[in-house]
């Protein structure tokens, strides 16, 4: 096994594992999905290297593409729900403050 090929393979795999670990560890959902899409694309690259072009194409199109899009939409929807609930909690806290100061007068 030529040294150059081995170095290339190991870089390829290390990046792959790095992307996967990053996708798994990031707490913020949207970042995680972005990293997951990157992981999917990189994985299709690795599979192209292993001589599986149509599987690579499928992974890029379906795995990273459609799967990623679905997750991104879900992440955005839940994020939107969070800040809708946060500002609902804020304005509820505001009018509670108004009520309290009215009693105070």
């Amino acid at each position: 096994m030529s040294l150059l090929l081995f170095v290339f393979d190991s870089i390829l795999l290390l990046t792959l594992l790095g992307l996967a670990t990053a996708a798994v560890l990031s707490p913020e959902p949207r970042n995680a999905v972005m990293l997951f899409i990157a992981f999917g694309l990189w994985l299709s690259l690795v599979w192209a290297r292993l001589g599986a072009p149509d599987v690579a194409l499928a992974e890029a199109a379906i795995g990273a593409g459609i799967g990623g899009a679905l997750m991104l939409a879900a992440a955005r929807r839940s994020a939107r729900r969070d800040n809708r609930r946060d500002n609902r909690r804020d304005n509820r806290r505001d009018n509670r403050r108004d009520v309290s100061c009215q009693d105070a007068q």
């Binding site: 149509d54 194409l57 499928a58 199109a61 379906i62 459609i66 929807r77």
Partner: protein
């Protein structure tokens, strides 16, 4: 998730990984044999297609692909059974609309090309279907309520087309031909192409409908000009 429990699970899982890697090592050391490759390539001439993966996918293990389309159907039926689609995204700004006008037809043409090229080069129903699906996603992002899909009744036929045609071909061959999904050598190529076209349309519409994420509004509300998929 307190720290030490996740650490403990981490250690256990990494032990499992090392064990699996050792097993994998002993397996490869034993006989890195060619497995089914020579047999599949030798049967290629009378499978009706020249690309080995498409031959395996649509001829040798056609039954798997039929079931996999059924899995897709199950997923979309599950999504539809959960209720109406959540509200769509806000209508797209000018840049996205222009982009969509270019990208969507391009994706559809590439999908068609991929479908055709699958017979002799990497490509085929799934990749083509994925592209059509992504065209639907882009339309949905650009504000189109039903991601370019027709009304509810038509969507039901679209989603069912892939498995339906595949099954009908299989049953007809079972009754008249040599057996369930046993293509006669002469017409194998055309049968496979027919099945792949239906599968592409089905996969495309299913993925787009999945992205919409809910039951399409009933027939009477087709007010918006339904830009059909092929436009």
């Amino acid at each position: 998730m307190n720290r030490d429990l996740s650490l403990l699970i981490g250690i256990l899982v990494s032990l499992l990984a090392l064990l699996l890697i050792w097993i994998f090592y002993t397996t490869l050391a034993a006989d890195p044999g060619p497995r089914l490759a020579p047999l599949a390539l030798e049967q290629l001439p009378n499978s009706g297609v020249s690309h080995p993966v498409t031959a395996v996918l649509l001829n040798y293990r056609a039954y798997d692909t039929l079931l996999e389309l059924a899995v897709l159907l199950a997923a979309i039926l599950g999504i539809w059974s959960l209720g109406p689609a959540p509200s769509g995204f806000q209508p797209a700004g000018p840049a996205l609309t222009v982009l969509a006008n270019w990208i969507v037809p391009l994706a559809i043409i590439t999908g068609g090309y991929l479908l055709w090229v699958g017979g002799h080069a990497p490509g085929g129903a799934f990749q083509a279907g994925a592209l059509l699906g992504s065209a639907g996603v882009i339309l949905r992002l650009a504000g189109h309520e039903r991601a370019g899909l027709p009304n509810e009744a038509a969507q039901r036929w679209l989603v069912v087309a892939g498995v339906g045609l595949f099954l009908l071909v299989g049953l007809l061959l079972a009754v008249f031909g040599a057996g369930f999904l046993t293509y006669p050598k002469a017409s194998a190529k055309w049968l496979i192409l027919l099945i792949e076209t239906a599968a592409t349309i089905a996969i495309g519409s299913t993925l787009a409908a999945a992205y919409v994420g809910g039951r399409p509004p009933l027939a009477q509300s087709t007010s918006a000009a339904s830009k059909d998929l092929g436009a």
